[in-house]
């Protein structure tokens, strides 16, 4: 650890962890388009996964499958794509794992760094925007076709006393979801399911109880896995179930595999 002069408190970078990493050379250099000018056009990029999130009576539920793929190869069947950033924020990732997990790590440290250095909690809007900035900084990788990430972000907002849900595009535009959001290659199927359920189902998603929400999440993921090879279904032999996390005023809760196994057995399979 080498000591360098701390940045001036008056600098716009004060409390900005990503700026600190750039200053210390701890960020990978982002390739620019001109570096490969004349090369082939960017590859078609897929975000091979399924992530879904929706609001229900008890907060926001975020669910993701466990499969990581490279082309048509299954690389890993226990990937955790729903990541806890702090006690009241979740980031769910679709896209290139290396970039996505690094982004989550930067984000996690950013919130703590801001709180410790500025002696106040980062605002809800600030947190939502922080992820947007990371995505924009990643634009070079996106244009090269090697590092696209399309995340969801859910956090409990103390001011509006509600859990809120956001989705992003690969360049960092942020959109607040009214009822539900989905990302990844399996998302068209999931969005159809959620739209149908929200509009014509037994009741709107926001009015459903937790037990019903969990059943819906498992069924939607199963639907996505039916047609999308990049979405892992439930591996009952290996006992690998999707990750489901619920965010509410009290914080984040991860549903136990045992509980998911029970619900899956009785209502999905």
């Amino acid at each position: 650890m080498e000591l360098r002069a701390a940045r001036e408190a008056a600098s716009p970078d004060a409390g900005d962890f990503a700026a600190l990493l750039r200053q210390r050379g701890l960020c990978p250099p982002v390739p620019t388009l001109s570096a490969t000018a004349g090369g082939s056009p960017p590859l078609t990029q897929t975000q091979a996964t399924t992530i879904l999130a929706f609001k229900f009576a008890g907060g926001v539920l975020v669910a993701g499958d466990r499969r990581a793929t490279a082309g048509n190869l299954v690389v890993y069947d226990r990937a955790d794509k729903v990541l806890e950033i702090d006690t009241h924020s979740l980031m769910a990732i679709a896209g290139v794992p290396a970039t996505a997990w690094e982004m989550a790590r930067v984000l996690e440290h950013s919130f703590q760094f801001y709180r410790r250095s500025q002696l106040q909690e980062m605002s809800h809007e600030g947190k939502v925007r922080a992820l947007s900035k990371l995505l924009r900084d990643n634009l070079g990788f996106v244009l090269q076709g090697v590092g696209v990430v399309v995340p969801l972000f859910a956090a409990y907002d103390i001011v509006s006393a509600a859990a809120r849900l956001y989705f992003y595009d690969a360049m960092g535009a942020q959109f607040e979801a009214a009822d539900y959001a989905a990302t990844g290659s399996g998302s068209p199927a999931v969005r159809s399911v959620l739209h149908y359920e929200n509009t014509w189902g037994s009741k709107p998603l926001v009015k459903r109880r937790e037990s019903d929400a969990i059943v819906l999440a498992l069924r939607a993921l199963d639907t996505a896995a039916e047609t999308d090879t990049a979405t892992g279904g439930v591996d009952r032999r290996g006992l690998v179930y999707p990750i489901i996390k619920i965010i509410a005023k009290t914080g984040i809760r991860t549903l136990a595999d045992k509980e998911l196994a029970r619900v899956f057995k009785s209502t999905v399979a």
């Binding site: 650890m1 000591l3 701390a6 940045r7 408190a9 701890l26 930067v106 440290h109």
Partner: protein, 260 residues
């Protein structure tokens, strides 16, 4: 004037005298181990003096707010980048103080054309698992005093800083007599307040004096509590998160003191 060695020594001595004079009125800070972790404690009138540095490291500082702030930011930046680039397990108080902060403080202090850091800091690090807690005092000249455990010195379960050496010695003398770390948080708060009061009473005392009498201590405690606010924080083993720091609010702990 400093081309000649003895002039340099003189300049350093003057500078030391000046800084000690500036720090002499500093309100003491006590940190001690209790059953559940580490308690950091002080009484203050205006600005915040206890700070979270990283998951398991806390800091208290007396001196010029600008200098404390610069060192605090440096410590946070160093530990955060280390924790990010490697892992939170690789962040250690020993390395932070010995390799990063101390050389900088020494260099600033001895370069007599530049300004020194007007700060005295106390760091506390919550041990992982069975590892003991570390307490470390870092002075304006880069000198380090630890709570021992190495080089044949008995391990101590506390660390203190204060404005004067006499005051520091008295606080240490008092805390050495206590049965740390086998105390509850309530008891630790009471001991910390006693240690603070002893330190505050002895700012102008002679190092050879006895500890203040229990009556004098009780009177001083009550008088100071009435006009200052309590600043306290804990680094807790029981925290469900990697972050162990928790600030104890004045309103949360003051009723406990009023009852005793």
């Amino acid at each position: 004037m400093i081309e000649e060695p003895y002039r340099w020594v003189e300049a350093i001595a003057n500078r030391r005298e000046y800084i000690e004079h500036q720090l002499a009125s500093g309100s003491p800070i006590a940190a001690l181990s209790y059953r559940g972790g580490i308690l950091l404690f002080t009484l203050g009138r205006e600005r915040q003096k206890l700070f979270e540095i990283y998951d398991r490291i806390g800091m208290g500082g007396i001196g010029h707010p600008g200098d404390i702030e610069r060192l605090r930011m440096a410590a946070i930046e160093l530990t955060s980048t280390e924790g990010f680039a490697r892992s939170a397990h690789d962040v250690s108080l020993r390395r932070l103080a010995n390799y990063s902060l101390s050389p900088v403080l020494k260099a600033a202090f001895e370069q007599v054309y530049g300004p020194p850091y007007l700060a005295r800091m106390l760091f506390a690090e919550l041990g992982r698992g069975d590892a003991p807690n570390s307490f470390l005092r870092l002075d304006y000249d880069g000198s380090i005093h630890t709570n021992g455990g190495a080089f044949g010195r008995a391990h101590e379960e506390f660390g203190v800083i204060s404005g004067t050496p006499a005051s520091t010695a008295k606080m240490e003398q008092f805390l050495r007599q206590q049965n740390l770390p086998a105390v509850s948080l309530d008891r630790a708060l009471s001991l910390a307040l006693d240690a603070w009061s002893i330190g505050h009473l002895s700012l102008a005392a002679d190092p050879k004096d006895d500890l203040p009498s229990p009556d004098a201590l009780a009177g001083h405690r009550t008088a100071q509590l009435a006009e200052a606010s309590i600043e306290a924080a804990v680094l807790e083993h029981a925290s469900p998160l990697p972050i162990t720091w928790r600030t104890l609010r004045d309103a949360e702990i003051r009723p406990g003191f009023d009852k005793r």
